[in-house]
Symmetry: C2
Subunit: 344 residues, 2 copies
């Protein structure tokens, strides 16, 4: 028997689906021992929530038997290796599980970590495309004209024949590119290294290695940052990189806030070097009240939840986990395995 | 020699391209005899503009020799047949040239009319996709939260797995569908008649004939109306059709205002039967100040110019005209020929 412990909240329907994957599974789940979701699809739960002492004992007993974990367990990330000695695989619920895997000290173990990479890509791409379109068609002006009942005929912009620079060509970058391309956009991708047979050529007109980031940014009417937070990506979009972006461009970030020098971004938005931005992630979250971003007209702010689509998320996540469970039992390679060196 | 008269404003570059199509062309164009554009890409010009008496005589002399007209001539639509007796073909600058061709009385002549259908489809599709995305992701809430510096974590919507009903599967409907499909939407098309080998099957998951319009609307999370203004399409979206739309759906119209019963649409938006609308066309244009549409929060209003993209428009239009000129001289079938019975 393989013992699977489900360590965050999932609807009954999804628990049932997991149980049905294989008769050799022993699936442990106690709804009262995981933090209740703050909204459908939430897995972190409120910071105030705590297990009772008895609940804590029972939860530790479950973790002690876990060979497979579905999500990182609340309250036991830092001591995961000790409390779950039989652990061989954790399926995270986040797209970027590198930070939490590192915190759990799994880098030095044989425990396999798989991420939910890909699950959130569609909703994130929608946020970027929404932002690009409202920018191109000047929705702000349409709305202010409407407020004053102004029938203003004139010209509008378009995404057609514009260049979109997607920084990071993982599943989010791909999701953005495949949606942007039918608009007649030219797609320029930036990735660590570029090979001739790179899969990203399927959806990119041009690929640049990270070393050539500034060249790529210089061509961009639109920039979309999708990079995970790793030591390597930290402040990759620094003041120099932002200055290298084609003047007047629009900037989106749906990766991690640490990838961008936020003060430099603010300056570029204030000076007009950048014509607008759409941000789902920030250097400090929640975004502090004193951040100048709140006051900039040309900025769209989302509270790091533009990927949380009820139903879609837990359904897709559980479908991924079930497929991985099947592969695990069959001894096949798992999907979305975290590279513990690169942390994505 | 074939005499071509260019009857509305085009930039010098495009005039030159037309002259270069073939040595057998005699191209007549006088910038001072056509209305100056109110914005780049405009062909109608201000209502106040008038030719001098001498200019009028000179313009009439040009029309008298025209075998081919590039656009309908300002001030001479109603008497076109009399003032241009040698006319054999008019290339219009509008996507829907049915109304003006009828006014010119060309329905009873052998004069071929070609439209600019397709040229405007991309920008119109962008307007519809922008509206659908800002609706799905609740951009209004993001903006109002931002105004109050509220960091609101929670769920958001998506276009994924939603059904888009495209009413009218011409080039605009196609442009919308090919952009919406990569978002994971299900596309339902409505067209006059449906054949098994219909080209629209390339991008639609389901096709309904106009007679089954209500069934199609009942499945729609999003409705996009793209129909031209013809006697047949007049008020096709009447109160009954609007009532047949799936409750809570979002509604776009980029076809013609006359296709929709605007009072019924307003009522559906006020009652909540429809959750939002994006309109580029209206029953009466300019939209009267007393229209309740101005005051509805869930409506985006554009002044029938969301298709006017500078450069793109005149460049694409002239490329189409040049190709048609080549075909005309070679005795081949022209592109975008207006069906004088169906008026599109």
């Amino acid at each position: 028997m393989t013992t699977v412990v489900i360590a965050s909240y999932f609807e009954e329907e999804y628990i049932r689906r997991i149980r049905e994957v294989d008769g050799r599974l022993r699936v442990l789940y106690r709804e009262d021992l995981v933090p209740p979701p703050r909204w459908p699809g939430d897995h972190a739960g409120s910071e105030d929530w705590k297990r009772t002492q008895r609940g804590e004992d029972e939860f530790l007993a479950m973790l002690g038997e876990a060979e497979v974990l579905y999500d990182f367990p609340r309250g036991h990330v830092d001591d995961l290796v000790e409390v779950a000695p039989k652990l061989r695989w954790v399926q995270g619920s986040m797209a970027g599980a590198g930070e939490v895997a590192q915190r759990a000290g799994l880098g030095e173990t044989d425990v396999v970590v798989t991420t939910a990479s890909g699950i959130y890509s569609g909703p994130l791409a929608e946020f970027v495309l929404m932002a690009m379109l409202q920018h191109a068609k000047d929705l702000d002006r349409l709305q202010s004209d409407k407020a004053e009942k102004i029938w203003r005929q004139g010209t509008t912009g378009t995404l057609e024949r514009k260049t979109l620079c997607v920084v990071g060509t993982g599943s989010i970058g791909r999701a953005i590119a495949v949606r942007a391309r039918p608009f007649g956009m030219r797609i320029v991708g930036v990735k660590r290294t570029v090979r001739e047979d790179d899969a990203a050529w399927d959806y990119a007109d041009e690929l640049y290695a990270t070393a050539e980031l500034h060249d790529a940014l210089g061509e961009a009417d639109y920039v979309a940052v999708t990079l995970p937070g790793t030591p390597e990506t930290r402040r990759l979009l620094d003041a120099e990189a932002i200055a290298a972006i084609k003047p007047g461009a629009h900037f989106s970030n749906v990766g991690r806030g640490a990838v961008v020098d936020e003060a430099a971004l603010v300056e570029a938005l204030q000076s007009g070097h950048l014509s607008g931005a759409a941000l789902d992630v920030f250097e400090v979250e929640p975004l502090p009240a004193e951040s100048p971003l709140w006051g900039l007209d040309n900025v769209i702010i989302s509270a790091h939840t533009t990927d949380v689509v009820p139903d879609l998320i837990n359904a897709a996540q559980t479908a991924l986990f079930c497929e991985n469970l099947r592969r695990y039992l069959a001894g096949e390679e798992l999907l979305n395995v975290l590279d513990k060196r690169l942390l994505y």
